[in-house]
Symmetry: C2
Subunit: 275 residues, 2 copies
């Protein structure tokens, strides 16, 4: 397993800058975000990562399946992942219909079970489409603090229940330390996941959380997560792909991205690779 830069960690960088940063810092893989790929241009991004010799570890992100018709946009995201040679499209499935991150509640649905059913229904359409293009949908359970506004998919066990009706090539799961560290079932569910694990993402869980809980993710070592047992469990389950460092954090976004890269490499070596 080796280090991949999820480009949201160095959010100020364009795709071209992040690719260049990876080369300069000896990072062999990158996780890309759709809006940044679009800004750079899809064809140009394909050329940049190919010429740099980087692997694309994931494309972030599809999903938001609970409100309105998101199928066309997700098909486009799958096409982009295929073009980029990304093994998976990370899926953040969406929250309760009408609940907008950061905005006061307006007219919303409180039908959580219904929202979860909409996710399952959308997978029936998207899973075969992804499989035909050599892309796996990577269902990402998000920490329950995001259940209302970002993902009604809240645990790894729930993600596996959704994934298992499909061939393993079509639907997998993301294990992100920030989202799963608290889960009493996490080790049992990582073992169950086995080859369904499509992406392993690491960052720390900060305490106290900042006012915007979305930005409560920290550099490994800055929070409360014990990475050893989680990384060992993911390895034991058979995952041998890249490990993405994905950090949403106002201080890290404000810092010099080259310093962030250096710290990330150091922490990765001492806190993740030693597992």
């Amino acid at each position: 397993m080796s280090l991949s830069l999820n480009q949201w960690t160095t959010r100020r960088w364009t795709v071209a800058e992040a690719v260049d940063g990876c080369v300069r810092h000896g990072v062999e893989a990158i996780g890309l975000w759709r809006q940044e790929v679009e800004a750079q241009g899809l064809d140009e991004t394909v050329a940049l990562v190919r010429d740099a010799g980087l692997r694309v570890s994931s494309l972030c992100r599809g999903g938001f399946l609970t409100s309105g018709d998101a199928l066309d946009d997700n098909r486009r995201a799958i096409d982009e992942a295929a073009a980029l040679g990304a093994p998976c499209l990370v899926m953040v499935v969406g929250g309760l219909p009408g609940v907008v991150p950061g905005e006061p509640l307006g007219e919303v649905s409180k039908d959580l079970a219904g929202a979860r059913e909409r996710v399952a229904s959308a997978l029936e359409v998207l899973a075969p489409y992804a499989g035909e293009r050599g892309v796996r949908l990577a269902l990402e359970p998000l920490h329950p603090v995001y259940c209302a506004d970002r993902a009604v998919l809240s645990t790894l066990g729930q993600a596996l229940d959704l994934a298992e009706p499909y061939p393993v090539e079509q639907v997998g799961v993301v294990v992100d330390t920030f989202h799963v560290w608290w889960d009493p079932q996490v080790f049992e569910q990582i073992a169950r996941a086995g080859e369904r694990i499509t992406s392993y993402q690491v960052c720390d869980y900060l305490h106290p959380l900042p006012a915007d809980v979305l930005l409560g993710r920290g550099m490994m070592g800055d929070g409360v997560i014990d990475f050893g047992p989680l990384t060992e469990a993911v390895a034991k389950a058979g995952y041998a792909g890249d490990i993405e460092v994905e950090i949403f954090n106002a201080d890290i976004w404000a810092a010099d991205p080259d310093e962030v890269m250096a710290t990330m490499k150091d922490r990765f070596t001492h806190l993740i690779l030693t597992s």
Copy 2:
């Protein structure tokens, strides 16, 4: 099932004022907090609730078992619950050792599994002590957002795993809508809980959460929770006790407690009793 005022909802009121408020508003039961009981005096509190004809639905709270030796303090809390005729002592089990709510991280333990084992060990001592005094320990799973600093007990399923080795008279569980609404297993675990359900607490989950996530609890109807299915599941599991309204919320604490009581009664009638 009938309404109980958890006195933290009208936090400005002393025990005497809250007892008087319950009588004035026709609320027949009250959930008490230890520090308020101490301020009023235990004997005086016993007399106040008896003379007012109120039931004590719970005493909040014991626990904090993960750091240091909390056994003596929990024995005292059990004795107080017995004196008050409270059927249960609500247990908030504590977070990672060294993590302090609201404070920056200092020297802390990241051994989550170890912290959970300490809770199990403490129950071996406290459960029989409580049972002998006619008090049930009510294990309260807290929303995973509090796993680091307040409770390493994060799901109802995990609480039941801890409770089930003990007689049902000794160890039960709390179902609090704020803490469990997101859990994909909640209905299955409420059914499993059956007569282990010792307390049913209701309040809403606000969106967006305030900067201090502890205060993200709202009056029923002000957040994203659909109370009907949860209340029906608790009733179907056999729970027929009081339903406590327990709200931690800066605006509600700043409001006139009599207005809070009136709103609480109205929302309870229209959103909880109709289930």
